[in-house]
Symmetry: C2
Subunit: 244 residues, 2 copies
């Protein structure tokens, strides 16, 4: 696509080519730094011809983001088969694949700013979050989620986002570790919610029912049980005051 | 301030009054919906006089946001005395006080959009996040945080944000419950991080060392221990496959 060889393309084919070229450029650097001239050069066409297909950089950016959003939403899809922990881990791997492929563009978009924050782009971000939310609920086999489950899933989707952004800033932790950690974080946030709510406790018990001991959630629980006594022993030393 | 009584004010006094009036309006409704006319009326001055002090709505919005950001950052400050869980809970209460007072403006700002997303406003948001991050680290008594601790604290700050935003959207869970839940979430995310990292395990053990059994973290641990057997028993039924 960047050979500069001109050949006749149909309107839709040319639009799709430009979107692909733009998405590559917007993914590799902050969209603020990508010019229409650069996109034209990469697509092997003239600057006026780019404007023939897209009225301005913002509309091309939004079309590229549309394609990226559809791509990301599709990566959340996972067959509802087998243990939940393993399913979530596969989704997290595909999520980090996406983040890895689109790093600088993903950071710029999620951190907001003049070139990337518009009503349209924010609506697309929310749409992807909603797709993630609905996919997780589908895996939990819950049609009408109680408000606390809804909160846990939505806030975990946001945790996955912030974890990915922090990872992109220096990549100082291996991504495979973070993929697993986010599955564990999900279980941990669910467990916290279950502490004060019987309905959540039942949902969490259901989540764990089919988990093998060697799966991601089984490993978390057994490791926590292994390190808990050492971590908790100081607590037991504190005398409990008695009331009355 | 909204009585309409005109009296002579110094330049700085008038600026501060306008910022206060604007902050009240921007807090109560989405900033998109607040006009300069409205701010002028609420301040009891003419529209041109508002422009005399602030060149446009964006500069007045940013000045109001500056005041709100300083206010929020100050609420993170908490003496480094007594058990950690109780300290975090007091910080979370003040955080939700702020969110409660500035609900619609907080939502509009954090969700981004044309009227609120600018380089300046995003920098202020990051500054408040950084203040929260540094405060938490100060309480953990860690000067040079390992990368995994840094990740846990930053991602928890973002979790507190998304939890507050979800709460504002309908207020369907009592805020006191969410304040406590966020303290528990912090402990849970730390525990997950400790599972794979010895340094984090030592930090978590240090965090728990001074926790009383009846404090927020002690209660979490004892409740988890109480519900764990029922939730985990199905897992134990799954036979573990043997390799070879």
């Amino acid at each position: 696509m960047t050979t500069g060889v001109r050949r006749r393309m149909g309107v839709e084919e040319r639009r799709q080519q430009l979107i692909g070229v733009a998405l590559d450029l917007f993914s590799a650097r902050s969209p603020d730094e990508v010019s229409i001239d650069e996109i034209a050069t990469a697509a092997g066409i003239s600057r006026p011809l780019v404007y023939h297909y897209f009225p301005g950089k913002q509309s091309l950016y939004e079309a590229a983001l549309r394609r990226a959003a559809d791509d990301l939403a599709a990566r959340f899809e996972e067959p509802c088969e087998g243990p939940l922990g393993a399913r979530l881990l596969r989704v997290m791997r595909r999520y980090f694949d996406f983040v890895d492929e689109h790093g600088p563009g993903f950071s710029a978009l999620m951190r907001g700013g003049p070139a990337v924050g518009s009503t349209t782009t924010n609506a697309m971000i929310d749409e992807v979050r909603q797709a993630g939310y609905e996919q997780i609920l589908a895996h939990l086999d819950v049609d009408d989620p109680p408000v606390r489950l809804s909160l846990v899933v939505r806030s975990w989707v946001s945790l996955a986002e912030s974890t990915a952004l922090i990872w992109l800033d220096g990549r100082r932790i291996p991504r495979a570790e973070l993929e697993l950690q986010l599955v564990h974080d999900f279980a941990a946030l669910c467990a916290v919610s279950a502490v004060y709510d019987d309905e959540m406790a039942r949902i969490v018990a259901g989540m764990l029912a089919d988990e093998p001991l060697e799966g991601p959630l089984g490993v978390l629980v057994s490791r926590l049980m292994a390190i808990a006594p050492a971590a908790l022993s100081p607590m037991a030393r504190v005398p409990r005051p008695r009331s009355g």
